[in-house]
Symmetry: C2
Subunit: 357 residues, 2 copies
């Protein structure tokens, strides 16, 4: 019956006015959690301050947003490995291994790989290259390598994505490994890439893949990270949910193409970072113009003001860049949008978090 | 008790599975409104198509999104009048009159003015230049001019904004006039511009202004238009609500500054247009480097793929550009994000529309 929490908060909102007694308002946990807000509403005469406090910004997210946690590492280097991908899986794995080792040698504590880095990006290839991640070991040589390296090098790896086989279904799946080599989270792409721009790009991922059924946010040595895969970035709601769950960083492995890449790749990263005042990192495969699907490249790190901190063109390369979470609070003080949202007018509901509370 | 609609839709969502009978599902108006969806869920075995339909995209908006209406004019010219603003209100009004007449002479059927075009942009000026829009006539010479011209020239005017006095309160208010000269809508800026970037830009609008308490969307000869003023554009929820209410176009009069302008002005416009697959038009005052608040300028028209269709630098000018709503459906077919949203994972609630249903 958790769903009822919404309606009770809405009812409280509808009935909120300045004639309430303290006791009556304090029955509502959404309002009572902000005592400053409460006292302003009760004791102020009509004024700009009262007008500002009547907006109930915390109700703009349901459940209310979680403050940023303090991560073990606040300031660190991230490596974005924009890998060339071939049709030889063993070669792809060996190649990724070398890139990760090189990035770690340059000081990266977090390494992000591209979407579908162990296989060509095609519906024909997904079933052939798919691995049983849950079975592990020989059934998933790609993730076994990631696990081994993360432990050996004491780094966090957001392992791009690979085709995953689970029973009779296939997913586009990102695995996150902690510094102990353990699988900390597994994100199955939740918005499948089904688009049709005639004469430009048509791709129907849902012909072979099944969509995942959950957002994925994970606490690591290098912060609370929300994961999306490629097309997931088109849905602002997912990034907003992650921000409300306290994310410092969103990682989107992604293989935009030669049509949507120049149109939207950087735009969407900068928008998610700016609107949610957090870091966004993306990692694409390098471009192979002889392949069936030609990736845009342009892996990028974006800061919480939407500023491009590091980026590249389409060739194979590894970006090493600095992340400093201490500026998140500063940006949120500069532009206090989280306190200015109109919880009296709109509310974004995170259904999974609501139902698990 | 309209608030209860959310909880019943959520409960329906939680209980939805493929063992339901048709009757049971059809009791839920959210699901029954899409019969194709319904039949796929009932009659398909597990398959990519079923996986796609189980996402309940229509539940991602509460109330469910309204389809695009058919506007009287589908293809027309818009004029964005990037006006110089002085401390002489009469002169500002005469100047705006001339710009509107010129834009109409060039064929513009919709004209957009800047934020605070009849007054300097400062907390000191707002009380002095404010007009009683509801009283009209001599009490509001700025809007009287807009009304007169819209009727005379048979155009729609989204009248930027002016400081409005209503009782003992001041608002930052945009008036929309139809081709008959009547005031069709009045938007009071709902997110006040209170920011503090030390050494760059600090402004506290709430020292003098009160925030409006309602989103504003209006049917005109030139489409269904959602209105935001400047800082309103920072809140993606407002644009998402307007899109769900069937907006073709969002108009944001806005005076970004020399810090936030280069950082975010174009980015936010392109993001709102791309995420919501509609047109976005903005209009800034021209830059006056001798003024107390220096506007960024760069009035812009953005298309539904986030493409900048027309823009300018910071000098006084009028942009005349073409809008063609017929491409909205095309873009939404190319990238069918509205049907791909995960209504099983997130839901954006438009509280006002929910409560008025």
């Amino acid at each position: 019956m958790k769903a009822f929490a919404i309606s009770s908060s809405l009812l409280a909102l509808k009935s909120l006015n300045f004639n309430h007694t303290r006791n009556r308002i304090s029955n509502n946990p959404f309002l009572f959690s902000n005592k400053t807000l409460f006292f302003r509403q009760i004791h102020s005469s009509p004024s700009p301050i009262m007008a500002a406090s009547s907006i109930n910004s915390e109700l703009a997210r349901s459940p209310p947003a979680i403050p940023l946690p303090t991560p073990p590492l606040t300031n660190f280097k991230i490596g974005l490995c924009q890998l060339s991908v071939t049709s030889d899986k063993d070669k792809n794995i060996a190649h990724a291994r070398t890139a990760i080792q090189d990035a770690a040698a340059k000081g990266a504590k977090l390494i992000l790989l591209p979407e579908i880095w162990n296989s060509p990006y095609s519906n024909d290839s997904f079933p052939v290259y798919a691995e049983d991640i849950d079975a592990g070991g020989d059934a998933s040589p790609s993730t076994a390598m990631l696990s081994e390296l993360s432990s050996l090098l004491k780094i966090t790896i957001v392992g791009g994505s690979i085709p995953e086989r689970s029973g009779d279904r296939l997913y586009n799946t990102c695995c996150v490994f902690g510094t102990d080599g353990k699988l900390k989270a597994k994100h199955r792409k939740i918005h499948l890439f089904d688009i049709d721009i005639p004469g430009k790009i048509t791709f129907i991922e849902s012909l072979t893949l099944t969509a995942g059924d959950t957002p994925t946010i994970v606490d690591t040595e290098v912060g609370r990270i929300g994961i999306g895969i490629c097309y997931d970035i088109r849905f602002p709601e997912l990034a907003m949910i992650y921000a409300a769950r306290g994310a410092h960083l969103l990682c989107y492995p992604g293989a935009f193409n030669m049509t949507t890449g120049p149109l939207h790749w950087e735009l969407l990263q900068r928008a998610r970072a700016t609107d949610n005042q957090l870091y966004v990192a993306t990692c694409s495969p390098a471009r192979d113009t002889t392949g069936g699907y030609v990736a845009w490249g342009h892996s990028t790190l974006v800061g919480p003001f939407g500023e491009v901190l590091a980026t590249t063109e389409h060739e194979e390369t590894t970006i090493i860049a600095e992340i400093d979470y201490s500026i998140l609070e500063q940006r949120r003080t500069n532009l206090p949008v989280t306190k200015q949202r109109r919880g009296d007018l709109y509310q974004l509901v995170d259904l999974q978090r609501l139902n698990s509370n």
